[in-house]
Amino acid sequence: MQELLGLLRNGLHSLLVNTIQTLEETGRTVCDVTNTGHWECTLDLARQVWDTSRHVEILLKLLERVEGYSGAYPETTAETASAGLADDTLAQLIELAQKTGDADIERALDFVLADTNARVRKDQAYAVA
């Protein structure tokens, strides 16, 4: 069980670091890139900023729950967090939470995953258009 919790703690921490990086990058995009873009696209990116900041909050709370904290592990931020990558990581973490029997962590991560799925669908719609 301790090993599973350790894996969960490590996974949540990695996801937190990547999510903070995504938040910063998306914020920068709202600020810089969309100045001449379509308003609907800017609005959608602003929503993404809010979603991502909520995800950071959720991950901080979950880390606390498994007795971890931000900065507990050295992380590189070279690996940019794409929505697809986050999907895989989230699915793995949900599975780990199931194994540890923590339904609250499982539920909270599933809400994050639902947001990420919605984001992928929107991005695909933009790519088609």
Partner: protein, 197 residues
Amino acid sequence: MPLHDRRTMEGVYSVAQTAQMMRQYRYAEEQMMRIMAGWIALTPELVVKLEFGRQVWDCAQHADILGKRLPELRARAQVSEPPNATFVTFMQRLANREQPEETIERLVGVFRVLKPHLLSVYTQHLSACNPVYEPPTIRILERLVRETQEHILKGQILLEDIACTVPTRERAVLWQLELEKLLVAAGGVLGRVEDAP
């Protein structure tokens, strides 16, 4: 006793004036959204970073509802317009505090200067709206007032925490004064009388 509608038909602003004000409010909200979004990466304090993240979305929604009201006022949708060049300079000065150690200045600019000013202007506009023929504008302004009040309160809490020494409080006050001077010179978000078309 029969019910009697006591609302009057008196009003202050014309359709064209209201559209003009909506474009100017939209400019402030849209710029604020972009400024705070850009600051997220530059702000080391996680709690401030996350608050900026939340308010980026609120400002985006404010800009959106203001922009959607414009076609109902015989104007183009989703257009922003600054009142004058001095207000643009004010916004640029506010935005330019981009060093990691300038979180206090960033918070002061938005939560002690710009948002309190907007709250005052929105509230005054709201009190001047006619309840019979301007309910759509009233609904928008009521939301802006409510949410801007919440934003100011949250920003103030963050500032109290971060600027918790005499020197940092001094820094905050001096920066506020500098921005207030520019804001007054611009005539605020609605500009000076001579800016009116």
